[in-house]
C-alpha cells in the first residue's frame, strides 16, 4: 500500500514537472514571439523616417544578396536535378514522364525556391547578422551609437531588413531559373525526355501567378529572417558565449518561422493558384 502511494506521489511530481516545464516553454516562446513582433514593427516604423541610408542599404544588399548567390546557385542546381530524377522515376509508373518539367517547375516556383532560398540565406547571412549585432551589443558599440544621438534601429536594423526584403525574392528568382535548368539537364541528358516535351509542359502548366506567389513568399521569408536575426543579435547578452547562443537561436527561430509561414501562406494562396 505504502509503495503504491509513493508510486502515485512520484508520478504526480513527474507530471507536474513535465507540465510545468511545457507551460514555461510555451510562455517563453509566446513572450519571444511577442517581443519579436513589436521589434519588427519598430523597425518598419523607423524605415519611413529620414535620413535614408542608401549606402548602408547597398552594403547590406551586398552582404545578404550578392554574398548568397553562389550557395543559392549550387543548392538550386542540385535540388532541380534531384527532383527531376525522382519525379521521372515516379511518373514512369504512370507513363507520364512528359509531365516532369511541369511538376518540377511548379514545385520550384511555389515552394522549393522560396523555402530553400530562405533557409540558405538564414544559414549564411542571417547568422552573420545575429553575430555582428550580438558582438556590437556586448562590446557596447550599440550603446555608443545611442550616446552619439544615432538611433541604432535606424542605422543598423532598417538597412538590413529592407535589404533582405529586396534580395531574398531576387535570389529566389535565381533559384527558379537555375533549379529549372538543373532539372532540364537531368531530365533531357540522363532520363531521355525530349527538350520540347519538357519545355512545352512547363509552358502549359506554369503560370505567372505561380512565380509571383513564390516571390511574395520569398519577401515574407526575407522580412522574417532579417527581423528575427536582428532581434536575437540586438538583444544578446553575456559576452562571446551569449553571442553564440543568440546566433544559434536566430538560425533556429528563422528556420522554424519559415516553415510555419510557408504553410500559412500556401493555405492563403492555394485558391489564387487554382483560379489562375
Amino acid at each position: 500500500m505504502a509503495r503504491t502511494i509513493a508510486w502515485f506521489a512520484g508520478g504526480k511530481r513527474a507530471a507536474e514537472w513535465a507540465l510545468g516545464g511545457l507551460g514555461q516553454a510555451t510562455l517563453d516562446a509566446l513572450s519571444d514571439l511577442g517581443g519579436l513582433t513589436i521589434f519588427g514593427f519598430e523597425i518598419l516604423a523607423q524605415a519611413f523616417r529620414p535620413p535614408y541610408r542608401v549606402r548602408n542599404f547597398l552594403a547590406a544588399c551586398e552582404a545578404i544578396g550578392t554574398g548568397s548567390i553562389a550557395v543559392v546557385v549550387i543548392t538550386a542546381a542540385f535540388t532541380g536535378g534531384v527532383f527531376s530524377m525522382q519525379t521521372t522515376i515516379a511518373f514512369e509508373l504512370f507513363n507520364s514522364e512528359s509531365l516532369v518539367g511541369a511538376a518540377v517547375a511548379l514545385s520550384l516556383t511555389r515552394e522549393l525556391a522560396p523555402a530553400l532560398t530562405g533557409l540558405m540565406v538564414t544559414g549564411r547571412a542571417g547568422s552573420a547578422i545575429a553575430t555582428e549585432l550580438g558582438s556590437m551589443r556586448v562590446t557596447e558599440q550599440i550603446d555608443a551609437l545611442a550616446t552619439m544621438a544615432v538611433n541604432p534601429f535606424h542605422y543598423l536594423l532598417v538597412p538590413r531588413v529592407l535589404a533582405a526584403l529586396v534580395t531574398v525574392p531576387l535570389l529566389t528568382m535565381i533559384f527558379d531559373v537555375v533549379g529549372l535548368f538543373g532539372a532540364y539537364l537531368v531530365a533531357v541528358g540522363l532520363q531521355d525526355i525530349g527538350p520540347a516535351e519538357f519545355w512545352s509542359r512547363v509552358h502549359l502548366w506554369v503560370d505567372l501567378a505561380d512565380v509571383f506567389g513564390g516571390l511574395i513568399k520569398a519577401a515574407a521569408f526575407g522580412l522574417t529572417i532579417a527581423v528575427s536575426c536582428c532581434y536575437k543579435g540586438f538583444t544578446a547578452t553575456g559576452g562571446a558565449k551569449g553571442v553564440g547562443i543568440a546566433t544559434t537561436k536566430a538560425v533556429v527561430t528563422s528556420s522554424v518561422l519559415i516553415f510555419v509561414l510557408d504553410y500559412a501562406l500556401t493555405s492563403l494562396m492555394l485558391g489564387w493558384w487554382q483560379d489562375a
Binding site: T139, A146, T147, M148, A149, V150, N151
Partner: protein
C-alpha cells in the same frame, strides 16, 4: 558655479535586485566628479541614467536644467548632443578606421560642415589625444590605452558640454593609467567640459577629481573633495580607502 547635472532620489531595480535606492548627486559646471564604488555597486547603472540610456523607476535627472526622464525618445536623442561618452570597452566601431570612428558623429550630424571641415576637426581631436599618426589604423591594431584615447577623441568630436567616462582605467597598466588620467585632465582644461568618471581606481580618483562621490548600497554616502575624502568618518568609505593605502 551652476549645477550642470542634478540627480534627485533616483531609484532603479532589475527584478528583485534594487540597484539604486535614492541616489542624490549634484555636479557643477566645468568640474570633474569621480563616482567611486566597488564592483556591482550600480555605478554604470547611474551613468546610463544620466545619459538617458536607462529610465528610472522613480526620481529625476536634470541636465542643464532639463528633466531628461520626461523627454520623448526623439527629444532625448537631440539632447544627447550635450554629451560625449567614453565606454569601458572603448566601444570603437571595428568596421571603421580610427579616422572614420572620430568622424562618425560629425558625419551623422553634419550641421552644415563640409568634408574638409570635418577632416580638420578629426585631425585636431586626434592631435589632442596624441594619435594623429594612427588615423588610418583599425581599432584592432591599437593597444588598450590608445583605444581609450580614440574613444575620447570621438566623444569630444562635437564639442559636448559633458563627458562621461565609464571605468576609463580598468585593466590598464600603471603607465597607461597615468596617460589616460592626463588625457582626462587635458580634456577638461582645454575644452572646459564637465566630466563624470565612474571608477573603482582610488588613486586615479584622488588625482583627477574636483569632487569624489562614493556609491554604496545604492546611495551616495560621501560627496567631498579628495582632501576631505582622506579624512572621512564613514566606515565603508574608510575601509575602501584603506585597501588602497595598504596596496600603495
Amino acid at each position: 558655479m551652476a549645477a550642470m547635472i542634478e540627480v534627485q532620489d533616483l531609484h532603479k531595480a532589475f527584478g528583485d535586485n534594487e540597484v539604486l535606492r535614492g541616489v542624490n548627486l549634484t555636479v557643477e559646471e566645468g568640474t570633474t566628479v569621480v563616482i567611486l564604488g566597488s564592483s556591482g555597486s550600480g555605478k554604470s547603472v547611474l551613468l546610463k541614467h544620466i545619459i538617458g540610456l536607462l529610465q528610472p523607476d522613480s526620481g529625476t535627472v536634470y541636465v542643464d536644467g532639463v528633466d531628461i526622464c520626461r523627454l520623448s525618445a526623439r527629444e532625448l536623442n537631440r539632447f544627447r548632443r550635450k554629451f560625449g561618452m567614453v565606454f569601458q570597452s572603448s566601444a570603437l566601431f571595428d568596421s571603421m578606421t580610427v579616422f572614420e570612428n572620430v568622424a562618425f558623429p560629425l558625419i551623422e550630424h553634419r550641421e552644415g560642415r563640409t568634408d574638409e571641415e570635418i577632416r580638420a576637426i578629426v585631425e585636431a581631436k586626434l592631435a589632442l589625444v596624441g594619435l594623429e599618426k594612427a588615423a588610418q589604423l583599425d581599432p584592432a591594431e591599437l593597444s588598450g590605452g590608445m583605444r581609450k584615447r580614440v574613444a575620447l577623441a570621438r566623444a569630444v568630436a562635437r564639442d559636448p558640454k559633458i563627458v562621461l567616462y565609464d571605468e576609463p582605467t580598468t585593466g590598464l597598466d600603471p603607465i597607461t593609467t597615468d596617460s589616460v588620467n592626463d588625457m582626462i585632465e587635458d580634456a577638461r582644461r582645454e575644452l572646459g567640459v564637465t566630466s563624470i568618471v565612474i571608477s573603482h581606481d582610488i588613486g586615479s580618483a584622488l588625482r583627477i577629481a574636483d569632487f569624489v562621490a562614493v556609491l554604496y548600497e545604492g546611495r551616495i554616502v560621501e560627496h567631498s573633495t579628495p582632501e576631505q575624502l582622506r579624512h572621512t568618518t564613514h566606515p565603508h568609505v574608510r575601509a575602501f580607502l584603506q585597501t588602497w593605502f595598504r596596496r600603495s
